[in-house]
Symmetry: C3
């Protein structure tokens, strides 16, 4: 299943429309190219619908949210959804400010998202319409471990059912659920959190996987999570004693560039719950 998802990205080269932040836009564009897709970043309201219509998936990210781009998000998201394209939300920093929590809530109400990709603190903020968040990272008390996994799974499953979308939560253990089925993924490295934008990059790549596999959104989202985690591991293995988070970032994107179906299948640690 996972390898098939990857192959389909490489074969069809989906164009992904990103309305995203200026901190990680370059890395998101390069990781899209690395996995076989093509990026377009465009956040002007006036062209939002046209650009989204050209694409196979739309990725909305609240990283450096500003009022000016919210109308573009709404137009792009609705236009893409109307055409049956997967639309993904990455509610960066939901819970960190009222503007972010409310904007995420409003987008969720007005756009029929296919996928929401976030950390657990952001998902809690969405679920409660408020929340507490340590900036753009997950709070310690929201960590998913073997111990609280059943509760976390229940929570994500029911939130996914409630919003009618695939929910992909990143953390020590990743959870991906469509409200019925749920996958747990155990790949990745803790050092990935020392690279800014690994979450944003995963969201962009999830957009590509969804765009190339629109009939299998749960599997596509899970495959993107596995790909990112496996590449985090492969990149870590490449680190020398002088390397740090800058080298690590490059190695992660390079690993995505070189990843093939066979390696993804072999290294993925995924369970269906």
């Amino acid at each position: 299943m996972l390898g098939e998802m990857l192959e389909s990205v490489r074969k069809t080269g989906p164009l992904v429309h990103n309305i995203t932040n200026y901190v990680t836009a370059n890395d998101c564009a390069n990781i899209l190219l690395a996995c076989g897709a093509s990026p377009i970043m465009a956040d002007e309201e006036e062209e939002a619908e046209e650009i989204s219509a050209l694409c196979r998936a739309t990725n909305i990210n609240l990283g450096t949210l500003n009022r000016r781009s919210i109308p573009a998000m709404l137009k792009a998201g609705k236009a893409a959804a109307a055409l049956g394209h997967p639309v993904l939300l990455d509610p960066v920093g939901a819970g960190a400010s009222q503007l972010r929590t409310e904007t995420a809530g409003r987008l969720l109400e007005e756009i029929p998202f296919s996928i929401v990709r976030a950390n657990m603190s952001e998902i809690r903020a969405l679920a409660q319409g408020q929340g507490e968040s340590r900036g753009v990272d997950a709070c310690a008390e929201d960590r998913v471990s073997r111990e609280n996994l059943p509760q976390a799974l229940d929570f994500i499953r029911s939130f996914a059912k409630k919003i009618g979308a695939v929910v992909s939560v990143s953390g020590e253990i990743d959870i991906i659920s469509d409200g019925e089925r749920a996958f747990c993924v155990y790949n990745g490295r803790p050092e990935m959190s020392a690279v800014t934008g690994t979450g944003c990059m995963l969201s962009a790549m999830t957009g590509a996987y969804a765009g190339a596999n629109p009939g299998k959104l749960l599997e596509a989202a899970a495959a993107a999570v596995c790909a990112m985690g496996v590449c985090g591991e492969l990149a870590f293995a490449r680190m020398g004693p002088l390397d740090g988070n800058a080298g690590y970032k490059n190695y992660i994107i390079d690993a995505v560039y070189n990843l093939n179906a066979e390696t993804l299948e072999r290294r993925a640690k995924i369970e269906l719950w």
Copy 2:
């Protein structure tokens, strides 16, 4: 000729004003520094004229076009042109949305550009006032090959004559024409299209070459194209089995940093048509 263009950038260190997109701004700044120039990125209308006047060239890029920065583009472009500085347009995504096509058209009408640097699909969109484009990349049917080179040359030459600017078109074969003479450049690697922003970087570097060689715009633009292509080749030769597009990007900028006149002259594959 080519080496002289390069030396003049290194000797005079031209400051280049960039009104550009937030996806590739960092790479454009670093490639300007790599070739011996200095970048300044500034897109606020209020200071556009002042900043452009400080600089030796102005580079306008529509990558993440938004309404807010169009007045800054107009002011900066006109101020620079009035001072006799080279002004360059990179109409990213012209043809992909009405906003982009129309904005590029309006800029071309109101600013006496010295150089337009784009891919063939974007040039066609400008020439026709509309067009079809696969996002920010060229369409397959717009590929320039040995077979259709004569027609492509005619088209670019006459478009350059019509707009009274040097036109620099990137592709498998690059074409640079001032409406009379035309150069074809055969350097570069197909893998460069897997790095986001190689086009933007070339535009920025073309701005530097033009700013340092204002009396020889055609040669300057051609030399920048050769430099970028040669560096794409040198960088590719440096790739190891684990490298991907992130490593490749760094190697390209590094190669520009280390490029000298002798290597450029020796490796350039350029023909006058």
Copy 3:
């Protein structure tokens, strides 16, 4: 002293709010993570106070100044100062345009900054309410050398006293003063100026050091300057013959990631004047 400052960043992991430019935002975020802090980039007025309140320090950078973000700067800066958090100004390009010089002046009037981090040309522009600047780099005539060091120290000391903040000036010799005491730092490499954003990165890191050591701002700012300079040297030692400014940038961030108190203490070249 220096090692203690560094350890305190690694121990407390301060969250730093950055209102910064889109050219170097990614590198600033990664260098904050590298030194043990966490970044949040947010420039929307509506959430500025909330975000700054979540953080331990606020870093305001005029790199790609636009009118829209000035109200956010004012709100974030005032809110942070009211909470007793260190607030830092990096007046990029002050002197290069009236908008930048005036905005820097207005921010200095309305926000009780803890630290101003800039090059000498920018500081002169602030001190005179105007100035001349070669874009975003210091002018040659503003270079601090052994010869003019006493005058430069007097100037910086009195400017620091006048504005009631620590002033951290980067150059061949760095000067850091709180109006009474002053440090000179002799670390760093001239090649660092070929990497875009080394100044912005230092400002961000100074924010982290200040946030983790709020009672010792002069020492914190000096330690950040030493850390950046030492890492510039360590990164330079790692350069191979094919490396250029892109590799150098990665190596600098990687060196910050791997820097420990012992190395910082041993390699720092700092004098109290």
